[in-house]
Structure formats: structure tokens, C-alpha cells
């Protein structure tokens, strides 16, 4: 399988992640969409590394992306917990207290 196949799958996964973020009215789905997008980026990193150069830069990037995704998920879940406690809702559109 060539590089193009991996890039195509990655583009499709990225698009689905955007769709998940845009169409669902629930913060959890927004987080899921973000994870999909990060995974798409990881596929690209590793695929270009595998077909492109001799170094390990792409794979290292992918590892650090995974680490940051873990940190991001933990912090985001904590924030969602607080928002749920304060507003009794986890719709992104309900968190508009600063607007008033």
C-alpha cells in the first residue's frame, strides 16, 4: 500500500472528526472529534516518516501527539465536570456566562 492510501484514510478521518465537532450538541462528542483529528494527524506523521525519510522525526511527533492528547483529555474532562456542576448541562452553547 502506497503513501496515497494512508493520506486518503487520514483525510477521511479528519473530515469525520470535523463533522463530529460541528454537528453534535454535546461536549463529549466534541472531544471525540478532537481525538479523531489527532489520530488522523498521527497517521500522516507516521506514513510520511515511513515513506519519506530515514530519521525518526515523524514517529517522535506522533508519540508526543499521543502524550498531549492524553493530557488534553484529562483537563477537558475536568473542565466538563465543572461546567456540568455549574450549569447542569454540557451543551457547548450553554456555557455563555461571560457574555452577560
Amino acid at each position: 500500500m502506497g503513501l496515497e492510501a494512508y493520506v486518503a484514510v487520514s483525510a477521511a478521518l479528519f473530515a469525520l472528526g470535523i463533522v463530529a465537532i460541528v454537528t453534535r450538541r454535546n461536549v463529549i462528542y466534541v472531544l471525540m472529534g478532537i481525538e479523531m483529528i489527532l489520530n488522523a494527524a498521527n497517521i500522516n506523521f507516521v506514513a510520511f516518516n515511513r515513506f519519506g525519510g530515514n530519521g525518526l522525526d515523524g514517529r517522535m511527533f506522533a508519540i508526543f501527539t499521543i502524550i498531549l492528547a492524553a493530557a488534553e483529555a484529562a483537563v477537558a474532562l475536568a473542565i466538563v465536570l465543572n461546567v456540568f456542576y455549574l450549569l447542569d448541562s454540557i451543551k457547548p452553547s450553554d456555557a455563555d456566562t461571560l457574555r452577560e
Binding site: M1, L3, E4, A8, V9, A11, A12, L13, A15, L16, G17, I18, V19, A20, V22, T23, R24, N26, V27, I28, Y29, L31, M32, E35, M36, N39, N42, I43, V46, A47, R50, F51, G52, G53, L56, R59, M60, A62, I63, I66, I67, A69, A70, A71, E72, A73, A74, V75, L77, A78, I79, V80, L81, N82, Y85, L86, L87, D88, T97, E100
Partner: protein, 209 residues
Amino acid sequence: MNDRMLQRIFYGVLTLLTLAALGVGLASAGAEGLAFGLFAAMTIGGALVCIWERSVVRSAFSLMATFTGVAGFFILLESAFLAMAQLLIYVGGILALLLFGVMMSPPDLAERSLWRVLPGLGLVGLAVGWVSWQVAGSVDWVVRAGTPTGGAEAAIGTAERIGVGFLAPDQYVVAFELAGVVLTVALVASVYIARRRVSDLEPLPKEQS
């Protein structure tokens, strides 16, 4: 068209697409193509089910297919260590974390969100498709001649090189330590945010808006 019909149509189309992916992969590149088709179907199909389903539990478990498929891609790309990390962190950690969101999600009892999903799907699909078309037409990928065919040995060698690269002073050790610091700060901070004293967090009065 009621909900059940839509559900059946969706999963029928998904099954057909999976079989098509397997067939195309097998016809074009043999066993490796078959594996690629399987992982592509898992990745894309899992993401589609995640967007389609209304209950958070089902969406989260369909994401498991997506993450596992991506781990399979990493194996095909000779990065065994990354595949292992993907399984450990994504499937084992992040997914379990996301499932906590179930406790905060009221069931989505609205009608099947087809008309909410389809316009977004179409727009994003058009945009990404257009960009992909432009890229495919204009970029000439420089692929390394004679792609390595070490298989499992090459993959294990990669894991070893990654381990050395993490700790060798002239390679990635600064980034490695930085990632450790970021992870520590983020996890301590998230525990602090999540477990603050209740008296700090008075719920907002409801009649404010």
C-alpha cells in the same frame, strides 16, 4: 421512514462498504492490502458510527474500533512501539476517560439527527475532497526509493531506536522531559480542577439570563 429503518439502512451500507474495502484491498495488494482494507474499514466505520449513534456509550465504543484501526495502521507502517502506545493510551486510557462523560450526558431523545448530520457531512466532505483533489493534482510525493521490507524485525528495530532517541542527549531528550513536565502539570491541574472544594463552586442562579 422510521428510526429502525434508518438504522438498518445505515448498518447495511456500512457492511457493504466494509466488504468493498476488503475486496479492493485484496485485489490490489494481496495480504497487505487485505489488512489495510480491514484497518481502513475499522477506522472510517468506527468514526461514522460514532457520528451516527445517539447514545454516548455506543459512540465511545465505536471509537474503540477507530483507535484500534489506527494502531493497525501503525503496525503496517512498521512502528510497533507506536501501535502499542496507541492501544495503551487511546483504547485503555482516553476512551475510559471519555466514558465518564456518559454520567453527564442526558439521553438524546430527539429524532434521528440525519438532517443535522447530512449538511455538515456534505460540506466538510466537499471541502476536504476539493483540497485532496488539488493536492493530488499538484504535489509529486518524493517517496524513498526501495521501501524497506524488514517487516517485524524492522518494526522492533524502530522501537529500539525510539527508546534510544528518547534518552540520547543529542536527540529527543529535551522534548521527552518537556512532555513529562507537561503531562505532570496537566494531570495535577485536572485533579485539582475536578476535586475543588464544593464551597468554591456555588451553582449559578438559574434566573440570571
